[in-house]
């Protein structure tokens, strides 16, 4: 009995640092976000006033906030779909087919992931430049006339951000899927091809179902990271402009803090927090399948 007590104490002591860190840096700040969303205060002012749910009520009528949420959802849906489609197809090709320079491709696809977002925004600034930019020059060469598409102007700015975000994310997820695809036994493909299944059918009937658990997990990760990455990309590439057209939820939250509405920006934080929680749960539920084993 006495020995058991000592053991529990020992375990408690060992776990303590992690628990303390977790409480100080995760639990308390999160609770604080919820608390501060009920107050009105400036970021630097020592005083605060309790306003109840007024911040949340104001959010519903704030058309700029609605637009930023719309942009966030657009990014989550489109970037996720495009990235996953490309990552899966590329991973499938690189693992299943006999491509020359497989490792080289893997490295090339992975490079954008190592670059910082600021560097990426610099690269895309050069790509999207209206005059002599890479993309417009390429289009001019193909069409044979001078093309000046304004990639970062109002109608196209979200498309430009989507392209940059997809470009950045593909490599990482491709490498993840390649790893799990490599563990799918070769024999399954062999028997499938004896039964007359083509490459495409094999991909959808064998590869995808067998790595489904992996896809599910990465999907949840990806949705949450898209919400965060969208902030970085928007901040570095367009600062929310022109005229707020590329504002996303988190960049709008950041801007409201600068406008002296700390409580209001925390209310946005709460909404984003609950939104990403709900979305992850939803995705988790919708993608639930009976796990297949090989």
């Amino acid at each position: 009995m006495k020995r058991n007590k000592g053991r529990s104490r020992f375990i408690a002591l060992c776990v303590a640092p992690a628990v303390i860190l977790f409480v100080i840096f995760m639990i308390i700040p999160t609770i604080n976000v919820f608390r501060m969303s009920l107050f009105e205060r400036g970021a630097y002012s020592p005083t605060e006033t309790f306003v109840g749910f007024a911040n949340f009520k104001a959010l519903i009528n704030d058309s700029l906030f609605i637009r930023s949420i719309q942009n966030t959802i657009l990014l989550i849906v489109v970037v996720t779909m495009v990235t996953f489609a490309f990552a899966l197809v590329f991973a499938g090709i690189l693992t299943r087919e006999n491509v020359k320079g497989k490792n080289l491709f893997r490295v090339i696809f992975y490079i954008p992931n190592i670059l910082s977002v600021v560097v990426i925004s610099g690269i895309f600034s050069a790509i999207y430049k209206p005059e002599n930019g890479m993309l417009n020059s390429l289009l001019s060469m193909i069409t044979g006339q001078t093309v000046t598409v304004l990639w970062k102007d109002e109608p196209l700015v979200m498309v430009s951000i989507i392209i940059a975000m997809v470009w950045q994310a593909i490599g990482y997820y491709m490498v993840m899927y390649m790893a799990s695809m490599a563990s799918v036994p070769q024999s399954l493909y062999e028997s499938a091809s004896l039964d007359g299944a083509g490459r495409v059918k094999q991909f959808f009937q064998i590869t995808i179902p067998l790595i489904w658990t992996n896809i599910r997990t990465t999907l949840t990760f990806f949705i949450i990271s898209t919400i965060n990455m969208a902030f970085l990309f928007v901040k570095a590439m367009t600062s929310g402009g022109p005229n707020g057209a590329s504002e996303v939820a988190l960049s709008y939250m950041y801007g409201q803090k600068d406008a002296g509405l700390y409580g209001y920006s925390m209310a946005i934080g709460v909404v984003v927090f609950l939104f990403s929680f709900a979305l992850s749960a939803l995705v988790n539920r919708a993608t639930k399948r009976k796990p297949l084993e090989f």
Binding site: A43, A236, G241
Partner: protein
């Protein structure tokens, strides 16, 4: 076994200790609610060993000049200066200030994206410095108020944000703002710099025939100085005051309509690629349009010369600057006088020494050092000290242009309302790209203006 357990325990304890070590005891910098001492303070010499913390934004004037001025101040008063100069000053001093630790003096202008100074104004979190005006400049026998060019304090809604006759922000580094252009190109083409907006549109058509746009702007943030000067031209001082205080019905007046029409028409003469580059990442590309003769004019300040010093440019390029063209033949032309601000957070620890530092900014020693770096302090006789292009730029007021001063009145932040820049100037991007009409722009301004008036401070 026992050894293993002991080692694990030891390591855990070490980790815990280091964790607690991180929570070092930081005594907050003074009582945040300390009221600023009022009345004349010229005599209060602080102890010689005092150290004040000065935080200044790094701009095109460089960092060295701040060290030189700080050294000169220490030599004069014996007060040590701990200097923080950074391009992203908000990010450097912001977190500490949220924790209640304030620098003693902050040099950071309003109108920046992070709006830190505006937040301090809105929160009434700045120490009053009216008494600095009657303080003697350290090392000289004149008062600060006597040295500052009339009009920069007292009449200015920027230095006296609450319109109560009390000064809170000290004016620093002034710069005339106007339209910058390539003088060489005008000489080459034989074009005259327009003096009225009608001449401006004529020139725009002429330039368009040569595939040159009339106008561009770095970001919409540069429209504040432009729009202020335009409002002065449209309706003079009274109109400007009413407009910047969101007076009821002010945006329905013919004066306001003239200003809106001018901006809307200018939008159609603006180089179409401008909005795509009007962000913090690409704005220099818009400035480059003027250097490359792809646009004739852009609103800017005298710092542009230093900012684009390394940029490639068209042959025969020479900077020129003009006040805004007049709205009517023979009407007044205005150039907005931009200036930065230095202020003391109400929570600062050494307010008296900080005031001395501010007073020293207007000494001949400091003004000379700043002038050598290209920055003009608003003290009498400074223009004679400037050299090169700057002397011409600062001489704009001698050439008949009137000085426009002031800014939109501060209002209490309201959720969903947006800042002055978001409401008034950001839509210019949409006007240029055609996704918004002039009437939509005016309507949104009117709606926001009503809320701003209700929350004016």
């Amino acid at each position: 076994m026992k050894l293993k357990k002991l080692t694990a325990l030891g390591l855990t304890l070490a980790l815990s200790a280091s964790l607690l070590g991180g929570c070092a005891n930081n005594t907050p910098g003074g009582d945040a609610n300390t009221p600023a001492p009022s009345g004349s303070q010229s005599g209060g010499e602080p102890a010689a060993t005092e150290t004040i913390k000065v935080a200044a934004i790094e701009t095109s004037y460089g960092t060295d000049v701040w060290q030189q001025v700080a050294d000169a101040f220490t030599e004069q008063t014996g007060i040590e200066v701990e200097l923080t100069v950074d391009k992203k000053l908000e990010d450097v001093i912001g977190p500490a200030m949220q924790g209640g630790e304030y620098p003693d003096v902050i040099h950071l202008a309003t109108g920046r994206e992070a709006g830190l100074t505006e937040q301090f104004i809105k929160d009434h979190n700045i120490a009053e410095i009216t008494d600095v005006l009657s303080m003697t400049v350290p090392g000289e026998d004149v008062t600060v108020g006597e040295k500052i060019i009339p009009g920069f304090v007292n009449d200015s809604s920027i230095t006296n944000p609450y319109a109560d006759g009390k000064t809170y922000l000290a004016p620093m580094f002034y710069s005339p703002c106007g339209l910058f252009y390539n003088k060489g190109l005008f000489e080459e083409k034989g074009w005259e710099v327009p003096t009225t907006w009608d001449e401006m549109w004529e020139l725009g058509d002429k330039a368009a025939a040569e595939s040159i746009s009339l106008f561009t702007y770095p970001t919409t943030g540069y429209f504040d100085a432009f729009f202020y000067a335009l409002m002065y031209e449209a309706g003079g001082e009274d109109f400007f005051f009413d407009a910047t205080h969101y007076a009821e019905g002010i945006w329905d007046t013919p004066e306001a309509q003239a200003a809106f029409d001018t901006v809307a028409k200018l939008a159609t003469y603006t180089n179409p690629i401008t909005p795509a580059q009007a962000n913090d990442q690409d704005f220099t590309q818009n400035q480059q349009l003027v250097l490359d003769n792809k646009a004739l004019f852009m609103p800017n300040g005298t710092w542009i010369v230093g900012e684009m010093a390394e940029a490639p440019r068209a042959e025969g390029f020479e900077w020129g600057m003009t006040a805004l063209p007049a709205l009517t033949e023979g009407g007044d032309r205005y150039s907005y006088t931009f200036f930065e601000q230095m202020w003391i957070p109400a929570g600062a620890e050494h307010i008296d020494a900080a005031k001395q530092f501010i007073a020293f900014m207007y000494s001949d020693t400091a003004a000379d050092l700043f002038a050598a770096a290209g920055a003009a302090q608003p003290v009498t006789g400074i223009v004679d000290q400037l050299t090169g292009d700057n002397q011409i730029f600062y001489g704009i007021y001698d050439d008949g242009a009137k000085a426009a001063l002031g800014s939109f009145a501060s209002y209490k932040s309201v959720a969903g309302l947006g800042t002055v820049r978001e409401v008034f100037f950001d839509p210019v991007n949409s006007l240029v790209s055609g996704s918004m009409t002039e009437q939509e722009w005016i309507d949104s301004i009117k709606a926001a203006s009503d809320q701003m008036r209700a929350n004016i401070q």
